[in-house]
């Protein structure tokens, strides 16, 4: 699963996701892609599940770009622990996604296969998404 090689700080604030994506909101590499329509945190596990579904759906042809990275450590306290005594340890890594962000891009396959494969990947994600294609494709 994806996670940073090293981090400046071990734990992060919870934060809130406001607004729309101002970058990574167009297809820059591939011909087809999957665009987020809702804000949410997407965990490294969900990204990996979506990537595997996508690779399988594409029958291992073409190419995939993952355009998000889980760089936010999400902490959690162990079970049966009383409140207090500081912040829990890192449980998983997540990517903060704003609506409009292109999450995955694919190329080298037909539109029909791309639509099918990206639908399989979208089913692994916690947000609503939309299939996008390069203009004129």
């Amino acid at each position: 699963m994806l996670q940073p090689k090293k981090t400046k700080y071990r734990k992060a604030h919870k934060g809130r996701i406001h607004g729309k994506a101002t970058s990574c909101n167009t297809l820059d590499f591939g011909s087809f892609g999957l665009k987020a329509l809702e804000p949410d945190r997407i965990t490294a596990r969900q990204i990996e599940a979506a990537r595997r579904a996508l690779a399988r759906g594409m029958k291992r042809a073409g190419r995939v770009w993952i355009r998000m990275f889980p760089d936010v450590p999400v902490s959690k306290k162990p079970a049966e622990v009383r409140m207090g005594s500081g912040k829990g340890s890192t449980e998983y890594w997540a990517a903060r996604v704003k609506p409009g962000r292109v999450l995955f891009e694919v190329d080298g396959i037909s539109r029909a296969i791309a639509e099918q494969a990206l639908a399989l990947a979208a089913a692994k994600l916690p947000i609503k998404t939309r299939f996008v294609a390069r203009l004129g494709e």
Binding site: M1, L2, Q3, P4, K5, K6, T7, R10, K20, A21, T22, N25, T26, S31, K35, L37, E48, A55, R60, A61, G62, R63, S75, K76, K77, P78, A79, E80, V81, R82, G84, G88, S89, T90, E91, Y92, P99, G100, R101, D107, G108, V132, R134, L135, G136, E137
Partner: protein
């Protein structure tokens, strides 16, 4: 050369984001026409007039005759802005073209004869590096597309802009020799291994509460901790002489609750 399209536009007096938003509220698309050493002109379009042309994918390399209040302006679209979520057109820029103007235009690159490449037939991947190339050409002679022939291409070969024959009077707008595509071997699926330095920390769900951890340790709680259920079995039988270490094993005081 691509054909010239006609788009009707209406002049608008006010500039700025407030005026542009007011135009959008009426269902129109705000735009601006600038260049040719004249002052910029604010215009607006109906959405239906723009959308079919934008959806062709070659709108930015198509000449346009804008009809603004009876006047015809020869221009070329320079920029289109979209809503990031809904992908609706929110603004269009046009560059006014003078006589004999030469401009840099992004032209689409298309790849043909993929079946005639032995590498692509055997499962290699066509890696498109540039979907468009920036070309410098006369405004009245803009090529529709650049076609790249992939016949006979092998693995690890690439095609640059210098390998493609450009039409007359058309030159590259980039100083570098742009890579258009490369043919690479099919990438194997690699498992991304988490870095040990960061993942050394135990996730919270794998950790145990201090009390549960003490119970799991075998009923020998530390001083001050609540004795576990299994601790009784370790206690000496009635009447028997206590072992030397028994005192130390017994809880010294009642546990202090938080």
């Amino acid at each position: 050369m691509s054909k010239i399209i006609n788009i009707k536009a209406a002049a608008r007096s006010k500039a700025g984001k407030g005026a542009a938003r007011a135009v959008r509220r009426t269902g129109m698309v705000p735009g601006v026409v600038y260049g040719d050493k004249k002052s910029p002109e604010n215009v607006s379009f109906t959405y239906i007039a723009l959308e079919p042309h934008v959806n062709t994918g070659r709108f930015l390399s198509t000449l346009v005759d804008l009809e603004v209040n009876g006047n015809t302006i020869r221009a070329i679209p320079r920029d289109i802005q979209f809503d990031p979520v809904k992908d609706r057109i929110t603004h269009v820029d046009f560059l006014r073209l003078g006589k004999d103007a030469r401009i840099a235009v992004d032209i689409q690159v298309h790849f043909k004869n993929q079946d005639a490449s032995p590498a692509l037939k055997s499962g290699a991947v066509l890696n498109v590096v540039s979907h468009t190339v920036s070309l410098y050409c006369p405004a009245d002679f803009i090529p529709d597309e650049i076609v790249v022939d992939l016949t006979g291409m092998q693995i690890n070969q690439s095609i640059h802009l210098s390998d493609v024959k450009l039409p007359d009077r058309v030159t590259s707008a980039s100083r570098d020799d742009v890579t258009l595509c490369a043919i690479t071997a099919q990438a194997k699926e690699e498992e991304v291994v988490a870095d040990a330095a960061v993942s050394a920390e135990v996730p919270a769900t794998n950790q145990k509460a201090p009390e549960a951890a003490a119970a799991a340790a075998g009923g020998k709680p530390a001083a001050g901790a609540k004795p576990a259920a299994g601790a009784k079995a370790a206690a000496p039988a009635k009447g028997a002489a206590p072992a030397a270490g028994a005192k130390a094993a017994a809880p010294a005081a009642a546990p202090k609750k938080k």
